[in-house]
Structure formats: C-alpha cells, structure tokens
Amino acid sequence: MAIAARKTLPALAHVELVGSTVRERLRTAEDSEVVSAFLSGEERAFSELVERYQTRLLNFIYRTIGDREKAEDLVQEVFIRVYRHLHRFDRSKKFSTWVYTIASNLAKNELRNRSRNPLVLFQTITKNWQDEERPLQFEDPGNRPDDLFRKRDIREKVEEAVGQLPEHHRNVFVLRELEGKSYEEIAEITHTNLGTVKSRLNRARNSFAEIIGPWLG
C-alpha cells in the first residue's frame, strides 16, 4: 500500500521535503492522491481532507438536520470515522461519495433519534434561533435596512421550506441542489436506485416550490 502511495504521489513520502512544499502539493492533488498520502503516513494529508470537506459537510448536515451546533458535532464525528477507517476505504470509488455516505448516515441517525424525542424538531430549532446564533451572513452591509430585512426573511423562509420537506426527500434535495451531486452519486450515498432518486428529487422540488411559491411574489 505504501509503495502504491509513493507511486501516486512520490514526493509526499519523503520526509526531507519542506512542510510548505508538501502542503502545496497536497492542495493541488486529487482526493485519491491525498488519501494515498495519508495512508502512507503523511499526517498532514488528513488536514487537507478536513480543509476540503468541512464546510461542505457542515452545510449538508446543517441543511438536513437544521441544527448548527449538532451539525458541527456530526461533521467532527464524520472526520473521526474517516480517520479511523480510511484504511478500509475502497479506493476504486470516489472519496467524496464515501464521506457523504457517512455524513448522510449520521444525519439520518440524528433525525431518527429526534423523532423518538419529539421535543426537538427542525421547525422548533429554526424558529428558536436567536439573531446572534444565526449562521448565515446573507446580507451585504452596504444594503439598505429594508432590503436586509427582506433578504433575511426570504432566507428564513427558504430554510423553513427545506426543513418542511420529508426526510428522504430533503436528503436528496440538499445533495442535489446544495451539494451539486450527480444522480448516481446521490443513489450511492442514499443507498437507493436511480429511479427513486429522480422521483424523490422531482417531488421534493415540487413540494419546495409549492411551499416557497407564495413568498416569491
């Protein structure tokens, strides 16, 4: 395995390289190469993976479960699992799909746990957000106050509308519309077939448009 990694990314295996050079190489490398570098003992490669995926995963999980704090915890859990089990990752597949699968499963578990505890719901969380806790800086400070208010209002409505979608529709919807995943990737991540993905996405889009429609004017 180590030999293969060296073949893929030869310079990374050499300890004598300057740290900044390694980081630069890692930054420009493909996911698979970074994974190989990590498996061959380059610890900095993991930081690169974290750097690449932390925001994307946070957004994905946050849009799925609607709780920012919990979303951060789950993203950390994703990285811990990746760290522990990266040696088991089938490198013939896409790393991003694998990571999103872990994230999707964790988010699903979280929603399942919540459904057992009805006190915590997506709508409850989003409605109870305090201004200072709001994660999004949607506004451009140069805008007029009424514009800011309107934008914030729309953003809230959009988030609420996403939260109102059924769980399995929301998952597909977020993966497609916010993460830009292909149908095939979504099918792999959600463990469903292509037809189901398309059908769920279609329904999710229509439902979302129905919910948000009145706010579009």
């Binding site: 946070l58 950390q76 800086q137 229509n206 429609g213």
Partner: protein, 246 residues
C-alpha cells in the same frame, strides 16, 4: 366494452375517411390546447392513452378517442408526462427531441409554464443560499478529538499486542507441557519389560585336588603341568573330567 368499440370505430373511421366529423374546438379544449391553428391541410388522428407507436412522435392524449391535430402539435405532450420529465428538464439532461417537446408544452400550457417558472425560481433561491462556515473553535475541537483518537488507537494497538503476547506465552507453555507429557507416555510405551532375575546362589564345592591320570599322561611331552591344572580349575572339573571306561 362499448367505449372500446366506439374508440376503435373512431380510429378506423379517422384513417379511412379524412372528412370524419370533427369537433375540433371541443377536442382541443379537452386536450388542454387552444384553438389557433389553421385548419387547411391538417390531418386528424385520434390517439389512445398509453398507446405508443415506435418511430412516430407522441401526441397529446388525455383519454381514448381524443382527436389531436398532429400537424399542428407534432411534438406536444400531456401535462403528466411533462411533470415526469420536469426534473431532467430543469437539470438540462434531456435529449434534444424531448427538450423541444417540453419547451413546446410550456409554450402551450400555462399551468405547466407556471409550475416550471416557480420551480426554477425557488431552486435559484436555494442554490444561492450562502454557505455556512464552521465556527472558530471547530478546528481546535477536531484536533483534540483526533488526538484522543490517535491515543486510543495506540493504546488499543498496545493492548492488543500485550494480549497477543500473553496468549502466545500461554499457548507455548501449554504446548511444551503437552509435548513433555506425550514424550513421557511414549517412553513408557516403548520401554523394555524389566527382567527380574532370581537371586544368585553361590554353590560352594571344594575343589578336587587329586590329579587326574589322563592329564598326568599328557604331560609326557615335557610341558609343565601347572598351567594346564590352572585352566582346568577355572573351567570346572566336569568339562575336563574323564571317566575311565570300564
């Protein structure tokens, strides 16, 4: 049954007689299309729900017997079909012909056009949501958790090694014991039976010192007598005794 017969009659009739009685207004209203096309030269073809003819474009069909102006609407479609394909239409993954049909349908059907616009606008809103960034202490917390993870992995690996070593030692001890026991048993099996000898009993017989005539006679060659006498003494008297034949 009657419906099927009527439908077939309409179908056959429309093909055989181009001047088949047409109620274009009502039919177009049924199929959801407006009356605006010219009539001259148009061909009237009835279409049946679910019927597909390979190699021919699909016509808008609402139920059996609907008559559609195929020349005017060769690429049109039903609203339900439009909705089925809408997902791919929004993603722009439809084939050329399908794409044209969808666009035509939007131009013809106000409801579907409204739905399409609404979906596209709402998706634009979602796609333009700004991404949220991890909090300031996210990296710090993750580092701490990763450190813990490394330590636990190391301790697990060390513990595993110790366990394996202990199991190995115990196994080798058991093996040694087994081997020793096996060897002992094998030795016992292959050992010769112990021969118990009867106690030795010494029989004291006084040596006969009388010279034997035969020996004395053999000494005539001039040899000294005493070595022969000693040999006789050692070998026992019986072997060298001679009894004179009577």
């Amino acid at each position: 049954m009657t419906g099927v017969l009527v439908t077939r009659f309409l179908f056959v009739g429309s093909i055989l007689t181009p001047s088949f009685p047409r109620k274009r207004e009502s039919m177009l209203a049924i199929s959801g299309c407006d009356e605006s096309g010219e009539r001259a030269g148009s061909r009237w073809i009835p279409a049946f729900a679910g019927m597909t003819i390979s190699g021919l474009p699909a016509w808008p069909v609402d139920w059996p017997g609907t008559i559609i102006d195929a020349a005017r609407y060769p690429y049109s479609m039903r609203c339900s079909e439009f909705k089925d394909l809408h997902c791919s239409f929004v993603d722009d993954t439809l084939a050329g012909v399908e794409l044209v049909r969808m666009q035509r349908h939007i131009a013809e059907c106000a409801d579907c056009a409204r739905l399409d616009a609404c979906v596209r606008r709402s998706l634009m809103l979602v796609r333009n949501l700004p991404p949220i960034e991890p909090s300031a202490d996210f990296a710090f917390r993750l580092d701490a958790r990763l450190r813990e993870c490394r330590l636990s992995q190391a301790s697990v690996a060390g513990g595993r090694f110790r366990t394996v070593a202990a199991i190995g030692a115990i196994a080798s001890l058991i093996m040694l014991g087994y081997v020793a026991e096996t060897m002992r048993v094998a030795d016992q099996r292959h050992a010769l039976p112990e021969i118990v000898l009867p106690p030795a009993v010494a029989i004291a017989t006084p040596p006969d010192t009388t010279p034997v005539p035969s020996i004395v006679a053999s000494v005539s060659a001039g040899m000294p007598i005493w070595p022969a006498a000693l040999l006789v003494e050692q070998g026992g008297l019986q072997t060298v005794s001679y009894t004179q034949p009577r």
